[in-house]
């Protein structure tokens, strides 16, 4: 048995220790807001927070999490920076297909928590691991600035 604390709730799970948290979230617990995009840490669609830091859940074996807290997009509204980002995302009409956006928002929330007023270069550096195939990058940048100044 592995116990994971997800969105402040403990879950006792009968899963293999090498199973990535991504699949525990999606296929065992039904937290499908966290997305599968590549499985190799190249796209960022699976981004969640581990103790407040953005991590790729496809590269995070369940057995290595221990007592650390996992937060997913479903609980993002409880993170002040993420809540501001979600509002900015709507104000700027960032979203197209939307599949990558939970990962984008979780990554950006981690950035704003550490760097409340990021420059364009800091945004680009922090967000470069998150692919948006619809090409919403221009609006993502604008929305992050907006959330930072909110």
């Amino acid at each position: 048995m592995i116990t994971l604390t997800i969105n402040n709730h403990p879950h006792a799970l009968d899963v293999p220790p090498d199973m990535p948290v991504l699949w525990v979230l999606r296929d065992v617990l039904g937290y499908t807001g966290t997305k599968y995009g590549c499985g190799i840490g190249q796209c960022g669609a699976c981004t969640v927070h581990l103790d407040g830091q953005a991590v790729r859940s496809c590269q995070l074996p369940a057995g290595t999490v221990g007592d650390s807290r996992i937060t997913t997009i479903e609980a993002a509204a409880g993170i002040p920076a993420a809540a501001r980002l979600q509002k900015a995302w709507l104000d700027h009409e960032v979203v197209q297909c939307g599949y990558c956006q939970p990962g984008q928002i979780m990554q950006a929330a981690s950035l704003l928590t550490e760097t409340p007023q990021p420059t364009d270069a800091q945004i680009d550096a922090a967000m470069s691991g998150n692919i948006c195939r619809c090409g919403t990058y221009v609006r993502i940048r604008a929305a992050i600035h907006d959330a930072a100044s909110a």
Partner: protein, 742 residues
Amino acid sequence: MSAMPPDTTPPCASAKTSPDAVTIVPHHAPARRDVLRAGLLAGGGLLLGFTLPLGRMRPARADLSADTFVPPSAFIRITPDAITLIMPDTEFGQGIWTSASMQIAEELHVRLDQVRLEPAPPDARLYAPDGAEQATGGSYSTIGDWGRLREAGARARTMLIQAAAKRWGVDPASCQAEAGVVHHAASGRSAAYGALAEDAGRLPVPAHVTLKQPSEWTLIGRRQPRLDTPAKVAGTATFGIDVAVPGMKVGTVAASPVRGGSLLGIDEAAARAVPGVRDVVRLPDAVAIIGDHFWAARQGLQAAKPRWDDGPNAGADTATILAALGEASARPGAIARNDNDAPAKITAAHTRVDATYVLPFLSHAPMEPINTTLHVRPDGADLWVGTQVPVRAQAAVARAAGLRPDQVRVHNQLMGGAFGRRLDVDSIEQAAAIAKHLAYPVKLVWTREEDITHDLFRPAYHDLLSAGLDEHGRITGWQHKTTGSSVTARWDPSDMKGELDPDAVEAAAKTPYDLPAVHVSYVRCEPQGVPTAWWRGVGPTHNVFVVESFMDECAAAAGQDPVAFRRTMLQRNPRALAVLDLAAAKSGWGSKLPKGHGRGVSLQYAFSSFLAHVLEVEVTSGGDIRLHRATVAIDCGQRVNPDTVTAQIEGGLIFGLSTALYSTITHAHGRVEQSNFDSYRMMRIGEAPRIEVFQVESSENPGGVGETGTAASAAALGNAIFAATGKRLRTLPFGLGAMQSA
């Protein structure tokens, strides 16, 4: 239609010259039965704006359910507690569910926060625009919806007002409808649509309705927030890959790495030894492992170590395929346009310009990998999938599972990108062939590696261009021959014009320019072992690159400024001239740039819209290409949701620029050499240029938008690189060492 390329297609060498305030309820499709019945009963009456006289043919009251259309319409269902709009187009990021809702709501007189949205079931008689196929693609949704959706709204509103007037014994003209309520001002009475719907459904459908004048619009042409985004931002939107149904298990698939190969064997015991693995299903060319979750299935597939017979395409490789395209391009092509003997004009010209352009195979790689959820039973099936072609998806399941199409219920889902990939149903047919062996619902998810290596690719093309210039630098003749696979011949052979694939010459046979002599032709050449498919921007993505790059070469040969050179050929095309002038002015065309920078221009008429693009790039001393600023002017006729127009151009440009810089699918020993985002690279946020989009006010009918930006990308990029460096790049992609070797 065949999901896969017909086996009879000759290889190239032997081929002849032929060729949430809003509730979105994607799981819910209860309307299907009623829609089907209405369609069957209504017959020719369908043409009246697709509003169906179901009311007069309704069964006894006891048969009524909450799902019944009241008043009847293929696009609108009003029940006592909900106003539901049925979306004829599928949503994969282009914003069409909002734009379609705006068109209906404008005439129905409801607010967008009052409606629920639901995907249309497969029924081409009701939902195919203009009698074509029920497919979302080709930037056609708004073009096809304009008229039919507003009429549907107006008919329903008219019937609701008539029902209220009849109930109150007043003249309908004395009643008004607003925000889903009919009012009679003189008596102070009012009734909500939901309370009137049943009465309205018993009234005859009006034969004619008068649509609002543009000056009366309150929604169309004004920025509206997208209806699908709150759930997407909250992480609660359900995409196909998120579907969960009771008793469902999760599987993953490996198909033969070489097209046409077959499964020789697997280590089934090893696969079944993986904890959580439940079933193994073999197909002639694939194996599926089913488990409690994706991780078990994927681990099981790795343990299974499938062995393959590579089959007849084991030798397919890119160099051979591209060489075959080049050889085939020497053959005479099917004529798309032949005005005034262009070859002779070129031969006689003062100056002659010739060039060859080569375009690679491309993968779609939408962020949501291919997936299908199916429950196949002896007497029917349920399909949960995001598809651009619900009728084909239904037929594919029926075919593979041995059912009739009407036994297959389609629950269409939001898509995490499509870009043409979900216009094909190969993966759905494969899923049905697997699921029919299973007694429970199964979600089959392809790995990203399977998604890219088993994509159906955008064709590679080999284009020959020639032009003649007179002593003043004016074009006297223009000749363009394109050679490549025909997507049309596989996907919808009825659209072929004899040997000519209209898609292969779209935006080549007809350009914005007034040219004195034009010859455009097409040579069909099918690559061995590489099926080809629609890809964002279709023909124009290919041809705007070629035509606009070569137009730049002609301007250079004439010693003229690229914008000025184009302007001389646009005097009879004022809409094209206007967007070119607007983009040039807004971009600061002609103003000085830093060393190493250059601007490139591209102009197009595609998807019934006019678009000009100026891109400023920098080429560093090390050969890196940096994108600084994109300026776009578009005239797409009447706009429905202007911000969606801008968003689609921004995204389309980045999609196209990413592709022009990095994307190529290559084959070696029959196998695709790219498999994930490490080897099939995507533009990242730091590489994206600033983008400004300027929209021309227009009252012309709407043109398409979703693919225009992608089509406009590569030529402006190549032309900007030329302006910056003097080097002309004619082979895509540009960014993989092309500058160093140019």
